[in-house]
């Protein structure tokens, strides 16, 4: 069964001004779509032809891993947003964030700093382990924490394609605005 590009729950211009329509057109319509297409090509005749994305992320190497993880990462990223988002986490996630990082603001600061300082292309993650403990990670390129048995809660794409049309070299401005479109109801449910 071939993988498909998942639908967005909002219009391409719905995240403006944080993420502009043109960035979304390329990011979702080209980059995400091409990862899906390449993955489908690469798994043909490979041991992963009937695998789930999660199995591919845990077991594959090279191009199959890179494209499989990028499909998963972008789906997860786009599903973390809603128009007029923002605010704070809810319920259990809110209290674990407070316990782990002292406060939501401290968490925000640490996560932002991890996103700003990740060198090159990659993803910043908030993950939980088997015991429910939270951790912030920087992963290069397609890096996905599922590979190490961790559960992703939140991610920020810091490949330049995620922000360059609107922010160019000003990655800190993109990371700062990123908080204004988060859908904390969805993100909190992941915990």
């Amino acid at each position: 069964m071939a993988f498909e590009l998942p639908r967005l729950n909002y219009a391409l211009d719905a995240l403006e001004p944080v993420i502009d329509r043109r960035t979304m057109e390329f990011h979702y319509g080209k980059h995400h779509q091409v990862y899906v297409n390449k993955l489908n090509e690469l798994i043909k005749g490979s041991p992963f032809v009937n695998s789930s994305l999660e199995e591919i992320i845990k077991e594959a190497e090279g191009g199959i891993y890179n494209n499989g993880a990028q499909v998963w990462n972008h789906t997860f990223y786009f599903q973390s947003f809603k128009p007029k988002g923002g605010g704070k986490p809810e319920g259990e996630l809110a209290s674990v964030i407070n316990n782990t990082f002292k406060s939501f603001d401290k968490f925000k600061e640490q996560f932002s700093n991890a996103a700003i300082t990740l060198f090159g292309s990659g993803w910043t993650w908030l993950v939980k382990n088997d015991s429910g403990d939270l951790q912030i990670l920087q992963e290069s390129n397609a890096g996905n924490p599922l590979r190490n048995g961790l559960i992703p809660i939140l991610t920020c794409d810091v490949w330049e394609h995620a922000y360059y049309l609107n922010y160019q070299n000003r990655r800190p401005d993109y990371v700062k605005s990123f908080w204004d479109i988060l859908d904390w109801e969805t993100i909190s449910r992941r915990y």
């Binding site: 390329f26 080209k30 980059h31 091409v34 890179n66 060198f119 090159g120 292309s121 990659g122 290069s140 390129n141 397609a142 490949w159 330049e160 394609h161 360059y164 049309l165 160019q168 070299n169």
Partner: protein, 199 residues
């Protein structure tokens, strides 16, 4: 002596339409400038203070990650501006042409190997033509690493490099990295590459 952002030998618009003026200006005044100032911060007061960039890079395994990333960024972009020219393009001549034919069979073979290395570098990085102890080789490195570094898989002296960080082409080419790579061949300054080959 602090490292200084080198001037370009041409206007920001000089490489149009292959590389647009806005990309050139941001790439030089923002990205390259930031690598330069961060490199200076990272070496200030350390044992690396006063060493040449080549000396720092060839011993990079003993330096900090900040020196590796920013020292690489400083050197790589300095080379990149030099190996491009508004009067570029065409094919190399003389000894360099011979060395390329010897190593790759033909210029077209070299062109396709170099283009593939640039297109297939996943994420941010560079593709290079390198003088190694076994002759000329094509390789690619992640992020701001380069073949001078003692940690590089293929070690040697880079004489041609293409930046495939998305910031090098995204404003004009977006996801079409292969189009940017194809356009790069029109601006390669073969005289400069030949000079670096001669050493």
């Amino acid at each position: 002596m602090a490292f200084e952002l080198p001037k370009l030998g041409y206007d920001y618009s000089a490489l149009e339409p292959h590389i647009d003026a806005r990309t050139m200006e941001i790439h030089h005044t923002k990205h390259h400038a930031a690598y330069t100032s961060k490199l200076n911060d990272a070496v200030a007061g350390s044992s690396l203070d006063g060493k040449s960039i080549e000396e720092i890079l060839t011993n990079i395994s003993s330096a900090s990650i900040a020196v590796r990333n920013n020292g690489g960024g400083f050197y790589n972009h300095s080379l990149f501006w030099k190996v491009m020219s508004p009067n570029g393009g065409g094919t190399p001549l003389g000894d360099l042409a011979d060395a390329i034919n010897k190593a790759f069979g033909s210029f077209d073979n070299f062109k396709s190997e170099f283009s593939n290395a640039a297109a297939n570098r996943f994420g941010s990085g560079w593709a290079w033509l390198v003088i190694t102890k076994d002759g000329l080789k094509v390789t690619s490195t992640p992020n701001q690493d380069n073949p001078l570094m003692d940690i590089s898989e293929v070690k040697g002296t880079p004489i041609l490099g293409i930046d495939v960080w998305e910031h090098a082409y995204y404003l004009k080419y977006q996801n079409r990295r292969p189009d940017y790579i194809a356009a790069f061949w029109n601006v390669i300054n073969w005289d400069e590459v030949a000079k670096r080959h001669k050493g």
